[in-house]
């Protein structure tokens, strides 16, 4: 369970990674691998955070967070997922945690669209001041944008952390499902990363590098 000593730092970290995705500073803190690893350390189980982070990162590698496109927000969900997995046997907890992280990522993506509309409303109301080159208006809009994203992120992380308890209870009610969900999450993540890699590589020269990479990775995996 998440203790009171770690719930507030987890909420703060989830807010930071939520803002990082788009508003500030886009420093890769919102990548699920990073968000979950730190959250795992905060919750007292770095190993669980790393495993959850790796699985969610596999799904994130199938996404392109570009401009106006709609994409999931993995960060706050990864924080909640790592908190859920902390302290559980990994083969039982990983699937449940990944499931929570993926659902929260989709919810987070929807809230990004809402945030963009809220920003748009503010910018429309400030049109005359912007056209007149008022630096105070620009500064105010920027701060309001970051503050709105902070509110979005804290609510999203709070929802995810609130769901940890009920999902753990549900997991205990269906003990056999945990292991199956872990296998589904791993298989789905590997497919996501594979599909994303092929889409990025396209045709021709990069495909040769894909083949070489699979060969290298296969040898290292066999030796390790």
């Amino acid at each position: 369970m998440i203790g009171p000593a770690s719930s507030l730092p987890l909420l703060a970290w989830g807010t930071v990674v939520g803002i990082d995705l788009v508003s500030f500073p886009q420093g890769m803190l919102s990548r699920p691998l990073v968000a979950a690893a730190v959250a795992g350390a905060i919750a007292g189980d770095l190993g669980a955070g790393l495993r959850v982070g790796v699985v969610l990162e596999l799904f994130a590698l199938d996404m392109l967070p570009i401009g106006a496109s709609r994409y999931p927000d993995f960060g706050p969900g990864a924080v909640a997922a790592a908190a859920l997995a902390a302290g559980l046997p990994w083969h039982d907890g990983l699937g449940l945690a990944a499931l929570l992280g993926l659902v929260m990522a989709l919810v987070g993506g929807r809230t990004m669209i809402l945030l963009r509309r809220v920003n748009g409303g503010r910018v429309r109301r400030a049109e005359p001041a912007l056209a007149a080159g008022d630096p105070g208006t620009i500064r105010r809009l920027q701060w309001q944008g970051v503050a709105s994203d902070a509110v979005r992120s804290v609510l999203l992380t709070g929802l995810g952390l609130w769901l940890v308890g009920p999902i753990r209870q549900a997991g205990l009610a269906l003990p056999d499902a945990g292991r199956s969900l872990t296998l589904v999450a791993i298989g789905g993540g590997l497919v996501a990363a594979f599909v994303g890699m092929l889409r990025r590589a396209g045709r021709g020269d990069p495909l040769r590098w894909v083949g070489l990479g699979l060969l290298t990775g296969g040898v290292i995996a066999w030796l390790s």
Binding site: S23, P25, Q26, G27, M28, R31, L33, L50, G53, V54, E57, L58, F59, A60, L61, D62, I66, G67, A68, H91, L99, L102, V103, A105, R116, G120, R122, V123, L130, G133, D134, I138, W143, D149, L174, D176, A177, L181, L183, V184, I186, G187, G188, G189, L190, V191, A193, F194, V195, M197, R200, A201, D205, W209, L212, G213, L214, G217, I220, A221
Partner: protein, 247 residues
């Protein structure tokens, strides 16, 4: 020739270029915010030239955020050189496409997946949290260095920034990091799979392989409508319902 001041402030503000991202101006307000210290240094803080240039700087703009410093530097130089306003607006619009596509190739389909894949390999090989920290550090060092360099390049070349970027090392670099992403992304898969499935029984492994084959077929059939994420969630719901039914 005018002297550019306010670089540090502009670069810091560029980290928040998408704070006011909206469907109307996209990164426009963020670009204006980043350009403001440069324009203040060029024209003083409250004159008509400053206000006119700042008003222009907040117009529509959308590019890869990590390459936007080139547009900020070029726009500041064009304003300093007295280039007519409509021409500056055309410059900014014209930069959206190249800075967007080059930056996306460089970062979103190159550097980020390459570094993330390398970090996963490091974690799977037992290096703990260090590969994750290295991922964040390397990305931000490269991104920061690139922002500084592109701001200078934009300031040096002004309205000729497009040609300067085309002739720079960046297009070649995007090809190289694309190959690195393909190689590391592919190498990561068997290593991560082996690590995550360590200790799994023969039945579990066969189950995962069957699931992956099924997801790949469904992904192929569903096309862009069925992402691996959605198909995985559907499979997870099916698993839960099955266990619920047999409990």
């Amino acid at each position: 020739m005018a002297v550019l001041t306010g670089r540090v402030s502009a670069l810091l503000r560029l980290t928040g270029i998408q704070a006011t991202w909206s469907y109307e101006r996209m990164q426009g307000v963020g670009l204006g915010s980043a350009a403001e210290p440069l324009l203040r240094g060029l024209f003083g803080g409250d004159g008509p030239r400053y206000r006119e240039a700042l008003g222009r700087a907040t117009g529509f703009f959308n590019a890869n955020p990590y390459l936007a410093s080139a547009a900020v530097g070029a726009e500041a130089r064009a304003e300093a050189d007295g280039v007519p306003g409509p021409q500056i607006e055309r410059l900014r619009t014209a930069l959206c496409g190249p800075l967007g596509s080059l930056g996306d190739r460089l970062f979103w389909t190159g550097l980020v997946p390459a570094l993330a894949s390398a970090a996963i390999v490091g974690v799977a090989l037992g290096f703990g949290v260090w590969p994750v920290l290295a991922f964040v550090l390397i990305h931000n060092l490269l991104r920061g260095g690139l922002s500084v360099w592109l701001l200078e390049l934009g300031w040096q070349h002004g309205i000729g920034i497009g040609a300067a970027i085309s002739g720079s090392v960046l297009p070649r670099a995007s090809t190289v990091v694309g190959r690195a992403a393909a190689y590391l992304g592919a190498a990561m898969l068997p290593i991560a799979g082996t690590w995550l499935l360590r200790g799994a029984g023969r039945g579990d492994l066969l189950g995962v392989i069957g699931l992956m084959a099924g997801l790949l077929v469904l992904r192929r059939l569903a096309g862009s409508r069925g992402s691996a994420l959605m198909l995985t969630l559907a499979a997870a719901v099916a698993v839960i319902l099955w266990h619920w039914g047999t409990a």
